[in-house]
């Protein structure tokens, strides 16, 4: 299809009708996810096999193949969906392709074994909404990820794309746009939760020209990929939101700050910008409205701290991405001291929806203080991990048990961390907490960008605090004293406690440092860095005391406080652990129960994982029984017995 230059809203509508007319709704369409997760699991091999098979069957022209974005259930990838029947296949391998083509495409029947099986009920699910992971979601932003090819602007236009831009350019004044966003109570999805409409207004009214608008796609939380998924799967929705914001604010230049580590997102956003320019939807005199806007892409070099707004702007200026004091907001003095409005990917992507469906509709979703939906990335010890989009106000319990499918292997829930590495650790008694900006702050955590790590009873909460402090220690820029030195000392103290070298006064010292960091650090990284430590101390204080006073780690995670021991009653002298022990610490023989020489043992856990008889135990805070008497023979189980 040739490139069309759209020079009026009527042109856009005409093009949309043409695209829709050309597409037969009954034509079989195979949508394959080619986002990072599925690609890593082999989506391109599936794609190649599909093309080869269709070619072989000679039906290439009768079937449409679409390369689409992420649906969030990445652990089940590669994902293939067949329309119009909407049959979803998971964990598809190239070998499965001939059957998919012959059975589903030609005979319109589902391949049972590739459908998702609900692990609790054992039922097969054909459609997305039949799968428990999706059933409880409300997918406003992620909805189109499966339907459109992010590298084809016409797909986005076909589903109604850029009509919000046309609407504001020709029917609304900039003030009306700001008013609408304010009424919708759209709050910043990057974590701060600052009302976007007010930020826009501040930038609009701030003195100085030019004004800038910025997309923050410097997602750095470990295990979180909400922004990546949107940027890869539906970049035009973000660009359209950005353009609407630019019009409302009076900006003629915008930046997309995206991590270099997201190659597919980088590629797709470049493609999207180029296509929007080719179609006359970006650049000079957009759709003949007189409004001009250009977008530059700035690739970040992977510093976590660069996601902080002032550090990000410093990086765009070409300097080292370090935060600067922002008592005068970046909305007033940002890039090159000019008014600059920065919002998260998800915030911008919400804007076209608000413009098209109205502020009232948006406010009807979520809670009083936090409207709309939020995308979470749920990882850790839950059965279903991945991206999910839910209305604000859903409880943590619903998130973890209904959508996440509960805790893995029937273990007990212990804590959930929301908001990325500097979010708090929330205990079981707070599980009925509605998830919105204000409620999470009340319990010492935060919404953050939407990361969520679920932990079970096998997680040590002191070790968890140590892990996140060490992560932030690596990522602190080192500019201000409380953050740099505070993290350095906290890391040392926490590592000491985990190694059994903790002292009684350490809990007090930790609190002193944590409070100083919270009150006096220069930027949000330092101010929130102590959250995991403070909440760990607040909700799991007894674990700290066990580590310090009894030298005991109840989860048996801290190596220095844990020993491995072979139960002579259970050992079958199978030699497996003895042979596999990398340091030769296990003694015994074929007819003699094994025991571990504690002096030599490196505590790698190999024997624990290998033992088929559940004979290897972890001990913490209790004496290690002496080795079995020399020559002790294993108590063999009777055949057929227990």
């Amino acid at each position: 299809m040739g490139v069309k230059c759209i020079s009026s809203p009527e042109d856009l509508e005409k093009l949309r009708q043409e695209i829709r007319a050309e597409r037969e709704p009954s034509k079989p369409t195979i949508s394959v996810c080619v986002s990072t997760g599925c690609v890593a699991l082999g989506a391109w091999r599936v794609m190649d096999a599909l093309k080869a098979e269709l070619e072989k069957q000679g039906i290439m022209d009768n079937v449409e193949i679409r390369e689409t974005g992420c649906l969030g259930f990445c652990e089940q990838g590669p994902r293939v969906t067949i329309y119009p029947e909407e049959i979803c296949y998971f964990k598809v391998k190239p070998e499965d392709v001939p059957e998919i083509v012959s059975k589903t495409i030609l005979e319109k029947q589902a391949v049972e074994r590739l459908l998702y099986t609900d692990p609790t009920s054992g039922k097969k699910a054909q459609k997305l909404e039949d799968i428990p992971f999706y059933k409880h979601q409300l997918r406003l932003l992620l909805e189109n990820n499966a339907r459109i090819d992010p590298k084809n602007i016409e797909d986005y236009i076909a589903v109604g794309g850029y009509s919000a831009l046309a609407k504001i350019l020709f029917e609304m004044t900039p003030e009306q746009v700001i008013e609408e966003v304010k009424r919708a109570n759209l709050r910043g999805r990057g974590g701060g939760g600052f009302p976007a409409g007010f930020k826009w207004e501040t930038t609009r009214n701030a003195p100085g020209e030019p004004k800038y608008v910025i997309v923050n796609c410097d997602e750095g939380d470990p295990g979180a990929f909400m922004d990546r998924s949107l940027m890869e799967g539906n970049p035009h929705s973000v660009l359209e939101g950005l353009m609407i914001g630019a019009y409302a604010i009076g900006a003629s230049e915008g930046f997309v700050y995206v991590r270099e580590e997201y190659p597919i997102a980088v590629e797709n956003v470049f493609t999207a910008i180029r296509q929007a320019e080719d179609y006359g939807l970006l650049g000079e005199n957009i759709m003949g409205s007189g409004f001009s806007f250009k977008i530059k892409v700035h690739k970040g070099a992977g510093a976590f701290v660069s996601g902080e707004s002032s550090a990000l702007m410093t990086a765009i200026e070409g300097k080292v991405g370090e935060p600067r004091p922002k008592y005068v907001h970046t909305a007033v003095k940002g890039i090159r001291d000019k008014p600059s409005c920065l919002n998260n990917v998800k915030t911008w992507a919400n804007v076209p929806l608000i413009i098209l469906r109205g502020a009232e509709w948006f406010r009807s979703i979520g809670t009083k203080g936090s409207s709309g939906t939020m995308i979470f990335s749920i990882v850790g010890k839950v059965n279903n991990t991945g991206l999910l989009e839910v209305p604000m106000g859903i409880t943590l319990r619903d998130l973890i048990y209904n959508i996440g499918g509960g805790i893995r292997a029937g273990k007990r829930f212990k804590a959930v961390q929301t908001g990325g590495p500097s979010g708090g650790l929330i205990p079981e008694e707070c599980l009925d907490l509605p998830v919105d900006f204000d409620e999470l702050t009340k319990v010492g955590s935060m919404m953050g960008s939407g990361g969520m790590v679920v932990m079970d009873e096998d997680t040590c909460m002191v070790d968890t605090a140590r892990y996140f402090v060490d992560f932030l220690l690596e990522e602190s820029c080192g500019k201000c004293i409380p953050c740099r030195e505070g993290l350095r000392v906290l890391s040392k103290i926490l590592n000491d406690i985990c190694e059994g070298k903790g002292k009684d006064e350490d809990m007090q010292t930790t609190e002193d440092i944590a409070e100083t960091m919270r009150d006096a650090s220069l930027c949000a990284l330092g101010q929130t860095a102590a959250n995991p430590v403070l909440t760990s101390l607040k909700y799991f204080r007894e674990e700290w005391e066990q580590h310090i006073r009894e030298k005991r780690c109840q989860a048996k995670v801290c190596k220095a406080l844990t020993n491995y021991y072979i139960d002579p009653e259970k050992c079958q002298a199978c030699l497996l652990c003895l042979r596999e022990c990398p340091v030769g610490a296990i003694q015994g023989s074929k007819d003699q129960v094994h025991w571990i020489d504690q002096e030599t043992c490196e505590k790698c856990g190999t024997c624990y994982e290998l033992c088929n008889f559940d004979a290897v135990k972890k001990l913490s805070g209790e004496p290690i029984p002496p080795p079995p008497p020399k020559g002790m023979k294993p108590l063999r189980k009777r055949k057929g017995g227990n």
Binding site: S476, C480, I481, R488, K492, T516, A520
Partner: protein, 208 residues
Amino acid sequence: MKKVVTLKIDDKEVKTEEGMTILEAAKQAGVEIPTLCYHEGLEPYGACRICSVEIEKRGRSRIVAACCYPAEEDIKVTTRSPRIDKLRKTIIELATVMAGEDVAGQLRALASEYDADLSRFRSRVPMEPIKCILCGLCVRRCIEANWDSAIGFAGRGVDRRVVLFPEKAGICSTCNYCYVVCPTGRISSAFGPDPPFPHVDDILAGRK
């Protein structure tokens, strides 16, 4: 003519021009707020946080750095309180981890004033003291004096150091500004950066 703003600093009513910081307003009013990374000739940097003060604005109180926060109409500033004193004491103790107990200059003076236990955190962290708190005054002063800088920052987080860029060593005009502004006695000579700052390549390569 700039707009006049009226604020309260330690119960004193202070009138100052719009665009001034709390620190500047306090100075005018004769209220002293300690600083380490501040220099009146340089842009506020906000790194040492020792100038932290408590402000009350529309009934809500928070802690801000006086060197950066603008003097605003009707805010109430508290420059000394048990909370602030404890904060400053902890910051000094934290700064000593890197600077070492035998630190000199302003930091030493502040340590006695706030009764800081210089070995409190230092004793926990095995680290060779380098007498530097990375306030950046020398670097920023050098840029201003020479329109370029013989020294600068390298490394991130706890690895951050002030280093010498050897190819720019010729810039050093032995103006001694860096010596004058150093608040910890790190730069001891009156003739150029001596003892020499570590070589940038050594720091980046992890050599001492």
